[in-house]
Every structure is written in structure tokens, then in C-alpha cells.
Symmetry: C2
Subunit: 298 residues, 2 copies
């Protein structure tokens, strides 16, 4: 029996699960459309089409992610840190779809809203709530990507957040800068990646160290096939170097991610003397289940 329909609805992805009373997965789908792909912003149709087989169950529906942003279905306010599953449950935003289905949206979170560097997330807070519910302890949770999120957990609460534009910066330097023009095809070089991480530890502005990719290439000391990995190491390394500057000594670091990118972050943290753990999968739906339970939806 489906107890909860849980949706992780992002800018370019849609994942949903039919969950049983204990949070177990009865069915899963990725067949829906990411926000940008929904024609004319008709989220009602996208929702009802993707979940048609499950909606007849009458189970409550909970959703998190960029679907609650300005370009999403219903824009919800940001909840200020610190927060936990109970606070997010208390801030759920109810909505009725055109087809009459009742949904609950998890709001995003904001850190330091009145300070010089406010920061925001939508969806990552739910993932981290899932990690906490699954027994993840205090420390830093890193979600690498286009915009990497560093989420700080203390006393079982989310207390800090910082976003770094690492993935996006890498992509635009590669596609649009003078450095990109030098990049040639290559098999991927772990040595070049670690050399870039090492460059991140040296003094100087990030964009001065980035120019070394060009100087080294001009002098034949960095091969065309190594430049992209060097640059990736430099950007990830700079994110980690600066992020660790304000972190407590011996902080526990958990990487929430998969595949090559998670592995790169793990190797970069190791270069800073930190053994980062890769988090278990499926914590997004676990967070949605936890918030729904606290909110009395189940």
C-alpha cells in the first residue's frame, strides 16, 4: 500500500517514488520532465502525466527541489537556518493540482539572510535531512555540481550553507575562455588533476593561477589533453582550500554524489589530508519521507 508519493523535481531532472509505510520503495520513476523541459510551464499536466499510475492511490504527495523556485510550479519562501526535519515539516506549503490532487512542497532554505553573504538552496536541504535521518552525524556535507553546496550540520541541525560556482566556472572557462582554446582531447589524467589541486594551494588569485594553464601549455609543460583536468583540479582545489579555512580542525566530510565527480572531490580532499566519505544513495527520498512523517502526512 502506497503511504507517500515523494518527488525530487529539479531544473533538469524529475525523480519520484511510491513509498510504503516504512519508507520502502514500492515503485520509482524518472519519466517526468525537469522544470526547464515542461512545455509552457504546465506543471499540472507534467505532474499528472508522470504520476498517473500512482495518483489513484490517494496517497499524500510531497515534493522538493527547484520546483518551488521562481521558475517552478509554486514559489515558496526560504526558511532560515538553523533548521531540521521538524522545522521543514512545519513550513510545508500545501497546493491543489488542477486535477484535484493535494501536494505539499518543501520550502528552500536560506542562510544569513540579513548578512553580507546570504545563500540559498532548494532540494539539497532535503537530501541532507535524509542523511541525518539515516544516522549521518555532524560535519560538512558536500554536494558537488554546477553549483556545489557545502552544508554544515551541527547538533543534528543544518546550520550553515555555502554555494561555490565550481562546475559552472569550469564549463564556461572551457567553452569560452582563452584557456579552452588550448584544450585538446585526452584520456583523462589523474596526475594533471592533482597538479591542479596542488596549484590551488599556492598563493595568488584564483584567476592568476588559472592563467598558469596557458603559460604551462605554451611552454610545453602541460599537454593539450591535460589542461582540462588541471583546470578542474585547480577549481575544485580552490573550493576545498577556501572551504576548509573556516571549518573546524578534524571536521568530518561527507560527499553526496556519484561517479567521476564524487571521486574527484574525494581525491582532492585527500590531497588536503582529509578522508572524505561518500554518502549512501537514496537519501533524497529518505529526507522527503522524514519530513512527511514529521508533518503528519503519514
Amino acid at each position: 500500500m502506497t503511504a507517500l508519493i515523494a518527488i525530487d523535481w529539479g531544473t533538469t531532472s524529475f525523480r519520484a517514488w511510491a513509498l510504503g509505510p516504512g519508507g520502502e520503495v514500492l515503485a520509482a520513476t524518472e519519466a517526468g520532465q525537469g522544470i526547464l523541459a515542461v512545455p509552457e510551464g504546465d506543471f499540472d499536466s507534467a505532474f499528472e502525466t508522470a504520476l498517473a499510475p500512482w495518483l489513484g492511490s490517494g496517497a499524500p504527495v510531497i515534493a522538493a527541489g527547484m520546483i518551488t523556485s521562481r521558475n517552478g510550479w509554486v514559489e515558496t519562501p526560504y526558511l532560515p537556518l538553523p533548521l531540521d526535519a521538524g522545522a521543514l515539516a512545519g513550513a510545508l506549503v500545501g497546493h491543489r493540482s488542477r486535477g484535484g490532487h493535494r501536494l505539499y512542497f518543501v520550502t528552500g532554505a536560506v542562510s544569513d539572510p540579513e548578512g553580507a553573504f546570504p545563500d540559498v538552496m532548494r532540494g539539497e536541504e532535503t537530501e541532507v535531512i535524509g542523511q541525518i535521518a539515516a544516522g549521518g552525524g555532524d560535519g560538512l556535507y558536500i554536494l558537488p555540481g554546477t553549483h556545489s553546496k557545502w552544508v554544515q550540520v551541527e547538533g543534528g541541525q543544518i546550520r550553515g550553507l555555502s554555494t561555490c560556482m565550481t562546475g559552472e566556472t569550469f564549463a564556461i572557462l572551457r567553452q569560452h575562455s582563452i584557456l579552452g582554446r588550448l584544450i585538446g582531447p585526452g584520456p583523462g589524467s589523474d596526475a594533471a588533476f592533482l597538479r591542479g589541486v596542488g596549484a590551488a594551494k599556492a598563493p595568488g588569485a584564483l584567476m592568476a593561477r588559472a592563467f598558469s594553464a596557458r603559460s604551462l601549455a605554451l611552454m610545453g609543460r602541460l599537454a593539450p589533453g591535460e589542461i582540462a583536468d588541471y583546470l578542474s583540479g585547480l577549481l575544485i582545489g580552490d573550493e576545498i582550500r577556501a572551504g576548509l579555512e573556516t571549518a573546524p580542525e578534524g571536521v568530518s566530510v561527507t560527499i553526496i554524489g556519484r561517479g567521476d565527480l564524487a571521486s574527484r572531490y574525494g581525491r582532492a580532499f585527500a590531497a588536503f589530508g582529509i578522508r572524505a566519505t561518500v554518502a549512501p544513495e537514496g537519501m533524497n527520498r529518505r529526507g522527503l519521507f522524514e519530513i512527511a512523517k514529521r508533518g503528519g502526512l503519514i
Copy 2:
């Protein structure tokens, strides 16, 4: 009587002067083509067309700038730092044009060629030599631009060099990143620029602080018309913050540049408690004259 024809030949600009025996300007032209605009790389024709009225004088010709790069007329090697006018004069590369005119090319310069962060310049060394010849003392010479150059002079010699991709990074973030999409038209805001410089002083990775342009805009605390100035201040501020970290206390700073960009750098240095001087104009031809004199061309 023309004693020297001096050319500053860059990627997108061409400037030349007919100089008298004391270095005085007898005539000047900007009518030639920058390297990228020379059709089919026919630099011989571009040279002879632009300078036709002067070449009959038989005066020696000296040229500096990106014209000696791989995409230029004659690729010359880089001369390692430290160097002065005499060293550049000793490394002049002679060349005869198709029309039979004898030219001398000033080589570029390289710092730390065997180290982890080699750096290169072509043209800026000649400008700084001119500054030194005109009585500019020891300290940092900053040439702001697409790729800002920091040139360190000590004991009348060029001893250090660092290139920062500040201008290019600003341009690609504005045109291609998520931050650019938020930028609206505005009259230019000195306050937003200085707020960006202030952000550069805060801890955190550059690309984490850059994301604050988005967070602040989302929260209505940075107007669309202020975002570009904020970002400009952040990038220039980060260049200066990091550059000053390795500079001696009380270092003299000279900005080689004109107009709005030189003024921005001046205001940003002031925010770091440093009163930067804007260098006198015309030091490029002065450097060319000095090197030619040392090389016995005059």
C-alpha cells in the same frame, strides 16, 4: 629628422611613432591593423602600407607586442627575468621585411620558466622599461585589462610577473553564466563596485563569493543594474587582495592604464589602504626608444 620608427603592435591594435633623435614624437599613427585583423597573416603588406610615408627615411624600425607571438609575424623566444633595457636590447631579433626594410623585434619575457607557475608577457615589459627610463622607481606596475599584468620592479630591473584573467573572467561571467542572466541595465554604481571589492576581502572561495551576486539579487538586496559593478569589484578586489599578500609592506603601486578601468583599480587599491599612482602616458614609445638606444640602433 626621423631617428627611429617605433611600433607597438598588439592583438587588436597597431600604434606607431616616428621619433626624433631625443625620442620626441615627429608623427604618430594608429592606422595599421591589429594582428587578428591582418588578412591571411600578411604582416609584410600590413607593415609597409601602414608606415609607407615614413619608411623612405631609412630610419631603423623597432617593434614590440604580440606581433612576436606564435600568431604574429616572427615568433621570438621569451627572455627570462630579471631583465632591464640593456638585456632586452641584447636580445633584439632582427628581420628583413619583403620590401627590404630592416626591423628589430623586442622579445617577450618569462618569469620562473622552470617553476610551477611560469608566466609570460609580450609588450608590457617594454611599457615598464619606459616607465623606469622616465624615472619610475621600484614597486609594482599594474596593467589592468583582459589579462591584468602585475610587473614587479626592483633595483631598476623587472624581477617579477603575474598575470590575472580578471577582465576575461568578468566578460565570460557576464555573457555566459547564471549571474549574467540577472544583470540589468544601470547607470554604473560606485557603491556596488566598492561593495564587490569589500566582498573580495571576506573569507571563502572566489567562486563562492561570486554566487552572492545571485543570492543578493534574488533577495532584492542587489538591483539588476548593480550586479555588473558588484562583480567587477569582486574580481578586481580578489586580484588585488591576493596580489598584495605576497608584496612587501608599503609597496609603491603604479597603474598603467587610462579611463574608467584605471580609475576602478585606483578606487579598489584605495579600499585596501593603498594610494596607487596612475602612470604618465606614452611610456610604450619611451621604452622602445630606450631599448633601441641601448641596442645601438640610434
